[in-house]
Amino acid sequence: MWYSSISVQQRDDAITAQVTTDPQSPWFSGHFPGDPILPGIAQLQMVTDIVAKALVMDMHLIDLTRIKFKKLVRPGEILDISILAGNKENTYSFRISSRQEDVCSGILTLAPKEEKKLFMNTDIAPTILRIAEIIINELKLEDVTPQTFDADLDLVDEIGVDSMDLATIALILRDEYGIRIDEDDYPKLTTVRIIAEYITKKQAEDD
């Protein structure tokens, strides 16, 4: 385990926790040698674990939105975590801070692990991750990973995607998912989530 709980408190729909990171964790030795920082995915897993513990259920992460990483986490750092249940079932907004400075925030959607098989059929999270990966590669975006890419960001206004970028992405998606993306539909494909939903719909139509 790369962290230890110092305290966890639950009140109604809110959870607050304080944890400390383990300097000996393999996360730090590999990420990165000589410049250790805690990866974003490890931070998100901490939040997931805390919610699961509070609910006394084995939960796993199925979706991410509006994730923002603002500060690096170093070995041994003490982190304050606040989590609030959202209006939609199994969604949780969270904030991690260190010495009053924001580290990370966003919204997670979790699901009980025993329902994983059910979600595999309808869940668009893998598609979202793959689309994010394609966009990151094609636009050569830095400082972002598929896991940290906000699926609800406006691709044109907030990422700077233009029609030629979108055409390139559409061709790669055509290869990967075997669907045709109509040129007239480009204006509708404003976010990664919407593209994922579009693909899912097209695949369902083709079946």
Partner: protein, 349 residues
Amino acid sequence: MADDRHYKFSEILADPVIHSQWEKVRKYFFLRESTYDMTNRCNIRCEGCYYFTGEKQFAAENLNVADWQQLMETEKERGITFVVLAGAEPSLVPQLCQTCFDTIPLGCIASNGLKVLPREIDYRVHISVWGNDQTSLEIRKAKDMLARQMANYRNDPRAVWVYTFTPVNIDEAREVTELLADNGHQITFNMFSSPVGYQGHLRHTPETLARTRAVMSELLAEFPRTVLFSPYNSVAHTHERGLHELFSCSYPRMNPSTAIGLGRSFRQYRTDLQWDRDAACCVPDTDCADCRHYAAGSAVVTARMYRHATNPTTFAAWLDYVDTYLAVWVRGYEKSATLCQEMIEPPAL
């Protein structure tokens, strides 16, 4: 012949020649253009002139360099990376062209070439040709146009001549091309596209379109270093169906969407620095059904990458088109060898 097999994009790019060309042209996908009428004056008056048609010619002239500077800075902020300076004759206001260049360093100036632009304005310069000097005298009322243009732009790498084919000058293109080739210049081809309401003798017919295509093909084959064009350019611009019908024009005038691409970013500023979305396209007041304009194709055909990525032949033709577009419009871009020598039919949507 283009085959009917369904290709993945990755399979098309597996061809190393296509892949190399794709990587070359995609570096320029950042180009986002807008166009600007610089002055309402011109030193000649040509029959069928696009500028002196419609309302834009009556816009007040703004010669204030500071206002243009501010406009360019605003344009840059909203993402414009390529400017096209046109109407009526930009060389009459070099101080404004210089201001544009100082702020947005990629662009092109459409000129009749009778007054040389200062060398410091390092944009591409498109010099218009409407036939041999005898025809130019008749249509443009200017003597020795080609000779004067060549003298003004001798050894100037900015210059590319734009030969506008009309039904009455098709056979003169050879004479002009030979002369330009002898003097080490380059030429590309444009098609006369009727202004709204124009029904005069310069409007193309199926027969003149076919003859033009044949001449373009001959000149491209005979003068490959002089002629910046490709077989697919010939097809796209001499097809009986105009550019809009073939490719769905993406300029705001014909495209209501403001979500992405030209519909979102393109503006056509008049001399008073105002623009009107309903009239915004590369050559306003052109009859859209008859539009085969080279500037229109440069955006409209180029934007339709997805529908051309059906098989290696069709995609190679599209790459030739984009390569030609970049060679004609972007200073310093060197045209590659043609990948697709076939005259393929444009793909349906």
